[in-house]
Amino acid sequence: MTPLNAPSAAAPQNTAPDADPILAFQHVSLGFDGKLILNNINFTMQHGETRILLGPAGCGKSLLLKLANGLLSPDSGTVRLFGKDLGSLLRDDLYSLRANIGMVFQEGALFDSLSVRENVAYRLREENRDEEYIEAKVREVLQFVELEHAIDLLPSQISGGMRRRVAIARAIITQPALLLYDSPTGGLDPITSATIIELIIKERDIFGGTSLLVTHRLQDAFSLATHTFNATTQQMERIPNRGLAPNTKFLVLNNTQMVFDGGLEDLLRSSDPFLRAFLA
């Protein structure tokens, strides 16, 4: 059995640290019905980075995430994923490339007619893995999100927080090279939110993956930057001496523009009036 942290068979070849950025937005703009939503967005994500995308509700954060894995195409500009221009890929190549990305949707987007087991196993079934391997892997990843007991339940039989955890399990089962989280704590109570954030920190610190996380909850964003997962106690804890998680950086969107790209300290020190008001 392949351990959970083994690289996926379908992982892209160019994952060396000095290779192309995992994700690069170059002058990306997108609008709907004549209204510009994203204007000239530029940023890159390197291997092993966690980027937290902040911004007020409705500013286009989720759209940016959908652009990142080619679910939407920009009106202008280029999105490069694993060094490949998404706009120049054939449909089948784009689907193959997506096998290296895990995405957690805002409401989980679990297949409601499939059990938790089948939802989590979905990608492995698409890869035609054998039953024994699938069962072992599904149980392993459900243990990771502490939901093994819910394996036979349907999405309608579990709570909102559990659905997000199942969605995370489904996204990470093949250990994709890039994880995209779309407001994973949106609409959840504070305790459940903390559980989800702990899970994301656990994934980041144990597997060292690259992830882009959208949220409008500042407390979640700051927790990601200031906490680490302790594998011994199996809990997240604050980094001592007001330390910050390495490679965890912030992007802030406002009014169609990317207004900030940098670390937590720079964000907190920023004199930009919008950022000061947003963080207040």
């Binding site: 894995n69 679910l71 449909r91 089948d92 689907y95 997506r98 096998a99 995405m103 990608r123 698409e126």
Partner: protein
């Protein structure tokens, strides 16, 4: 304000283009891997076996009422004995294919539109794309294959049951001998009649599946949107089935002379 009709027209043309592209991709995927065979069988069971009761009931009573009505008219001319011919020709050339298409459309085009529409508004279709699966291959192609194949056989069942229905009424209520009825029914049929009846469900099956999937996959606006898509799918597929029936009939009559 002057531009409004142009914008309206543009929007409709764009919808037709979207529909054509989705249908072409759905059919084209038959020749591309992977082919979701298990999903085809699951849909065939749902569409074919699931529709069997309504198709049998509709077929039986259509044949029965056709015999009842035509016998009354034919008896005015002393031609009640050819009731079987009229029932079998009507059922096989026209009513069997059209009514089966309409019944299956009411049951399955709506089912497809609501199922895929619900998946669309809850981001399950996007999730499928994000997981590296082409939803047209996984969801649309199996439905097209299953509907075309199963509607073909359902039409045969409806034709046969309709003739039986006509036979029951003819023998039990009209005093026509069963042997006379069934002989007349079979003898009147020619190859072009059967061909016409067998070609129509192929078109109807394509219409039901592509329209149902198209309205489902393009659903917007939450649960209200799902309801709207469902209604539009049934209306559009029903109208298209009848319109296509006319075109196919005209073409077949021109080609075969009957």
């Amino acid at each position: 304000m002057e531009l409004e009709p142009v914008e309206f027209l543009k929007e409709k043309i764009l919808r037709v283009q979207e529909y054509a592209l989705l249908s072409a991709a759905g059919i084209g995927n038959l020749f591309r891997r992977p082919l979701y065979v298990a999903d085809i069988f699951a849909q065939a069971d749902l569409i074919g076996v699931g529709s069997l009761p309504i198709v049998i009931l509709t077929g039986f009573f259509t044949g029965a009422v056709l015999a009842l009505q035509s016998a009354y008219t034919l008896s005015q001319f002393g031609a009640k004995s050819i009731t079987g011919e009229l029932v079998s020709l009507s059922m096989i050339r026209e009513l069997g294919p059209v009514l089966t298409g309409l019944m299956v459309s009411g049951r399955n085009a709506s089912g497809m539109a609501s199922e895929l529409g619900s998946m669309q508004v809850t981001e399950q279709i996007d999730a499928m794309r994000a997981l590296g699966t082409d939803p047209i291959k996984k969801l649309v192609t199996p439905r097209i294959v299953a509907t075309v194949v199963m509607l073909f056989f359902l039409t045969i069942v409806a034709d046969a049951v309709g003739m039986v229905g006509g036979g029951v009424v003819s023998t039990a209520m009209l005093g026509i001998g069963s042997s006379q009825y069934f002989h007349a029914s079979i003898d009147i049929l020619r190859y072009p009649d059967v061909l016409q009846g067998m070609v129509k469900p192929i078109f109807s099956g394509l219409i039901i599946a592509t329209i149902g999937c198209f309205y489902g996959m393009t659903t917007k606006g939450g649960t209200q949107g799902v309801g709207r898509s469902t209604t539009q799918a049934v209306v559009a597929s029903s109208v298209l089935i009848i319109a296509t029936d006319f075109i196919v009939s005209r073409f077949m009559i021109a080609a075969f002379g009957r």
